[in-house]
């Protein structure tokens, strides 16, 4: 069995890590997600699987992180998860990135766990800087952290992730207006654009319209990418970083597939918040190589 965590270098993420290694990490993260959700028969596997590639790229390649967690995060890149229901993904990423032992993933959603159903700072889990779950709040928080970085003359960046259904919350658009007006250009936001939410497709439930045009009209630099193709993700993040620092906040529309990586979970909103059975878990794990050792 290989090491269960990827120790970040002194600079945080490893610049040397290659595409195949990132894909291998993503495979393990997907296994963790499925096993965590199966273990407690609760949680949100669909969106977690869909965003796995993006968070893997961010944490293991792109973000400059300090190895030890500090709430203030001075001098390092920060990430805020706004769509807190993809907590299994976030927890797996944090554990595999070395913030805590992967063994703790087995406590997900159970009594007395630091791995609450939705992420929280209240249990002092390293890597989490804000509670999320009630949707629409994380963009404002990320903007606040980005403002403080500027006040502190800290030239690192702030990243955040949102669900597409989450964009139906009004606070998102308050924050969108603010970020452009105040030229929050050290912020790179992303939307998990999978077109699905609990009650069905976003088209059926509450159409998002032309998202690119909407964010552009609000004054953002908008980029788009396949969110399940590691190479495309690295390219768009490279482009996003080049676009930052130029007076505009940056938005990446990540075209993802809910449930990506598990054939029977893809292409439907059905797996938004449903746990796999024993048999389904085995079917799913058979599609995902164990690369870092299961927790």
């Amino acid at each position: 069995m290989q090491a269960t965590t990827i120790q970040p270098s002194a600079q945080g993420s490893s610049a040397e890590i290659d595409l195949n290694q990132l894909k291998a990490i993503a495979s393990q993260v997907r296994r963790d997600i499925l096993r965590m959700v199966h273990g407690c028969q609760s949680g949100h596997p669909g969106g977690s699987l869909g965003c796995t590639d993006y968070l893997t790229a961010l944490y293991f390649k792109v973000m400059k992180r300090q190895p030890a967690f500090d709430m203030n995060g001075k001098g390092e890149d920060l990430f805020f998860l706004s769509n807190g229901h993809v907590s299994p993904l976030f927890y797996s990423i944090l554990a595999r990135a070395g913030y805590f032992e992967p063994a703790e993933l087995s406590t997900f959603r159970q009594l007395n766990s630091r791995l609450q159903g939705h992420p929280t700072t209240h249990e002092h889990l390293p890597g989490v800087r804000i509670a999320s779950g009630s949707l629409g709040q994380g963009l404002s928080v990320a903007i606040g952290a980005a403002r403080t970085k500027k006040l502190n003359n800290d030239d690192r960046r702030v990243f955040c992730l949102h669900g597409d259904g989450e964009l139906q919350e009004g606070q998102i658009w308050e924050a969108a207006m603010f970020a452009a007006h105040h030229r929050v250009d050290n912020l790179i936001a992303a939307v998990d654009f999978n077109g699905q939410q609990i009650d069905g497709s976003t088209e059926q439930v509450m159409s998002l319209g032309n998202l690119r045009a909407k964010w552009e009209a609000f004054g953002w630099k908008v980029l788009e990418s396949n969110g399940n193709d590691m190479e495309a993700i690295l390219n768009v993040l490279d482009e996003a970083i080049k676009a930052s620092g130029k007076g505009q906040p940056v938005m990446i529309l990540l075209h993802t597939e809910m449930g990506y990586g598990v054939d029977f979970m893809m292409g439907s909103h059905k797996w938004h918040g449903v746990a796999p059975s024993d048999e389904q878990l085995q079917q799913a794990l058979a599609q995902l190589p164990e690369t870092l050792g299961d927790y």
Partner: protein, 318 residues
């Protein structure tokens, strides 16, 4: 009985403005945010001296709370400013998740609380804010009584690490506390000692309680007046000590009788020392337009009503 006089009247929101400026001078991490009410919140002096430390968010209070929470990451101490209504009910979930549950060092500073906002009427006169804020785990709730105390409280909360709700008001009211007072969070202030009835008052009602005590004295009643500027954490020791002596209580606040200071005191007393109690508070209703003093009289929040409550509660003493 100690006599309180005043030579000047000022609004408590101006005390906040003055305190914010001082807090900003003391600690470079103090930053301020406002949702299009800079003049009403008296933030101009801070903005003039520290323009780079001020953030105008426009009419978007939910976003303001989230940004404030985010700004703490990296060590800033954000003070948000808007009316009490928009500081609480409008943004309750943002405060709950991003500030209180996330343990963020944000100071929610709320002006125009209660009926004394006056002519704008019930849409703006929040009477439920203390209740909402005190129910949040870890939230400190402060409602100072005059300009000097509001200034001192503003400076004190900057030095305290944790979320705070600071409530103040619009009208000019007598300044009767010490300009150099040391404000201790959670420590009640003994305004006047007495033996027959305990009057626990907060905010604008403290001055009314002082007036009431003077009237009661002429009736031969010795009223103890205690200023509960910090509603949470409640100074339980001060309340119980006073009640042990007087054996009956009047609470006085510019808030709905449900969820306010009176509730907190009643809960404490029921558990430790049940005694008769009267509540001078708004009786589960919304406010309306009018002059502040007209409204306080109509809704029963003045010295006259405190006197009445004190006499009534003394009748119930065993």
């Amino acid at each position: 009985m100690k006599k309180y006089n005043y030579t000047e009247k000022k609004d408590t929101r101006s005390g906040f403005g003055a305190g914010l400026l001082e807090a900003g001078r003391k600690d470079e991490n103090v930053v301020a945010l406002c949702a299009d009410l800079v003049g009403s919140l008296k933030m101009e002096a801070f903005i003039k001296e520290f323009p780079e430390r001020f953030t105008q968010v426009g009419i978007a209070e939910a976003n303001m709370m989230g940004i404030a929470a985010g700004m703490t990451i990296g060590g800033k101490i954000p003070f948000t400013g808007t009316f009490a209504n928009f500081s609480t009910g409008r943004v309750y979930d943002q405060i709950r998740q991003s500030i209180a549950y996330s343990d963020k060092n944000v100071k929610i500073c709320a002006s125009h609380a209660g009926l004394t906002l006056g002519e704008d009427g019930a849409t703006h006169q929040i009477l439920e804010d203390i209740g909402m804020m005190k129910m949040l785990p870890g939230m400190v709730v402060i409602n100072p009584c005059d300009y000097n105390q509001t200034k001192a409280a503003t400076m004190a909360i900057a030095a305290y690490n944790g979320p705070v709700y600071l409530r103040f008001g619009r009208p000019v009211v007598p300044i009767f506390t010490d300009p150099d007072q040391k404000f201790e969070i959670g420590k009640a202030w003994m305004v006047n000692e007495g033996t027959d009835v305990s009057i626990f008052a907060t905010g604008h009602l403290v001055w009314e309680a002082i007036q009431a005590a003077e009237q009661l004295e002429t009736l031969g009643i010795s009223a103890e007046v205690i200023n509960i500027h910090t509603i949470k954490p409640l100074d339980e020791e001060a309340v119980l000590k006073s009640v042990a002596k007087t054996r009956c209580v009047v609470s006085a606040e510019e808030h709905n009788r449900f969820g306010g200071l009176g509730d907190s005191i009643a809960q404490l007393l029921v558990q430790h020392d049940p005694v008769p109690m009267e509540f001078v508070a708004v009786n589960d209703s919304f406010g309306e337009s009018g002059k502040p003093d007209q409204l306080m009289k109509k809704y029963g929040l003045d010295a006259e009503h405190i006197v009445k409550a004190a006499r009534a509660v003394m009748q119930k003493k065993k």
